[in-house]
């Protein structure tokens, strides 16, 4: 089975600073991948390369049928974004729209779907993340965890095949982290392909099929969570894990 996301020898520099120095990985459909590593190792940049927010300098990225590095026009990129969706750490939602409007906006404006259908689907999605009661609240009236769940619902409204999560629990306090992680568990159970950049090691161990440890712009080590966390091969992996765990 062809992997749904295929990354080959990706390099990215911002000016003179090289962030990604040749990263390669494959993700099968329905797979869950966690990327861990110290800050500055290029994790967030890698995610942004996958959905085309950042253009790579060399290498190739294939998502579904799209060659991300060869997408030039806005329309091509929009077609890509219907396949892969991303949830960010902060300032995720549009503060001037209610939760329901946030979820509805993209299908209505980008996919040009019928408003009533989108409305019904949006309500169902909000129910799925457990926020049906907060449909008419503005982001400023929701807690951090609630905001992130609405952000997940909003990404799901585009019916993506792959979802990217960029440290979405990093800015939350511990109580609200749990509800967000529960939502992701639900997504994984439904068979969504997920790529998570996270610091939540316990969660990564539980949910991931593969864990990748990045440091200094390269993937140092990868493997099933049990192998990586319990029997790390590389010195750097060991050093990092001993700091975290």
């Amino acid at each position: 089975m062809q992997p749904i996301v295929s990354i080959r020898d990706v390099r990215k520099s911002f000016g003179s600073l090289e962030i990604l120095k040749g990263v390669s990985l494959d993700i099968p459909k329905g797979g869950v991948v966690c990327i861990i590593g110290p800050s500055g190792s290029g994790k967030s940049t890698l995610l942004r390369c996958i959905n085309g927010l950042v253009t790579i300098n060399s290498g190739s990225i294939r998502v579904g049928n799209f060659d991300v590095q060869s997408l030039k026009t806005d329309e091509q990129k929009i077609a890509l974004r219907k396949v892969v969706s991303m949830v960010f750490q902060q300032y995720n939602l549009f503060p001037h729209k209610t939760a329901l409007q946030n979820v509805m906006m993209a299908p209505v404006h980008v996919l040009r779907e019928n408003k009533d259908e989108v409305h019904a689907r949006a309500v169902a999605l909000l129910e799925k993340v457990g926020l049906a009661a907060k449909a008419d609240s503005y982001p400023g009236e929701l807690s951090g965890g609630q905001q992130q769940r609405v952000a997940i619902a909003r990404s799901l409204a585009m019916r993506p095949e792959v979802m990217l999560f960029d440290e979405i629990t990093a800015a939350l306090d511990p109580e609200t982290v749990k509800e967000v992680l529960n939502t992701i568990r639900g997504l994984v159970k439904d068979g969504m392909t997920c790529i998570l950049v996270t610091h939540e090691m316990r969660f990564a161990r539980e949910i991931a099929d593969d864990v990748y440890f990045t440091d200094g712009g390269v993937i140092v080590e990868s493997g099933p969570p049990a192998d990586l966390f319990d029997r790390p091969q590389h010195e750097r992996t060991r050093a990092f894990l001993s700091q975290i765990l």
């Binding site: 982001p139 929701l142 951090g144 905001q147």
Partner: protein, 307 residues
Amino acid sequence: MIRLKQKSKEHWWITSRRRTGDGGTDLPVLLPPAQALTRSARAERAWGFYTVRLPWQLGLMLLALFAAGCGIAQAQTTANHPSIFATIWKWTPLLLTGFLFNLFISVLAMSIGTVSGALLGFAQISRSSPVRKAAWFVTQFFRNAPWLVLLFYCMFLLPFQVTVFGVTVPIPGWVKATIGLALPVMANVSEILRGAVQSIPAGQWESAESLAFSRARTMWMIILPQCIKRMLPPWMNMYSILTMATVLTSIVGVAEIMTLTSRALSAENRPGLLLAFYSYVLFWFFIYCYPIARWTLYLEAKYKVDT
């Protein structure tokens, strides 16, 4: 930010800051700069005016305009006319006296305005409700009235002479104009004072009270000394704006620099001299206001208060 409820009649001055739309979110919905922008807009409303930030490039620009004006005028000069620089040099002493007169008016208006504004400000934080309301009304009234209208008001309605203890004292036009300029200053100083007093945390009042300070004592020994620092930047900013606003008095006939400049221009009757003269005058204003504006920014940064 400390949020206090209106405790009792005595503590009315610590009114609860009505938190608008606080939804209890723990993730901010907009960046800190957005908050900073709104906060500075509110501060601007309290201070009375925008912050004058004179960059040195403006001085250069004015010099460039002056040079351009001289160039245009020189190009249109015929042979039997004196050179442009000689003309400007000829008029400079007269214009300088006019400029000094502007500065004198500004200092006088600032003094009158500050003293009366302080009194009005104290009235705004007085314990008695009718005094407070009346002072608030007067402050808002003079803040919302255009400066030129207030100038006209004073020019026309103040008597041209006053008899005190049997001595008739004439009140020249420029004195009336100065009082006219002092009125908006008074209103803005009052607002600055009120804002500064209200920005002092309630904890100060409470600890003073628990140490058995009387209200007047608390005000004089604890609150006001802290307010002085907060009031200095907007007060100096006000002065920069006032100095530049003294040119308004030319409209009501005071013989200050703008009137003298227009007289010089009509006496010379040479086209193109206008740009040179006006940029010359503006450059003087710039030279005067530049150190004030710089010092204001310095003080503002130094006394930055995290509310």
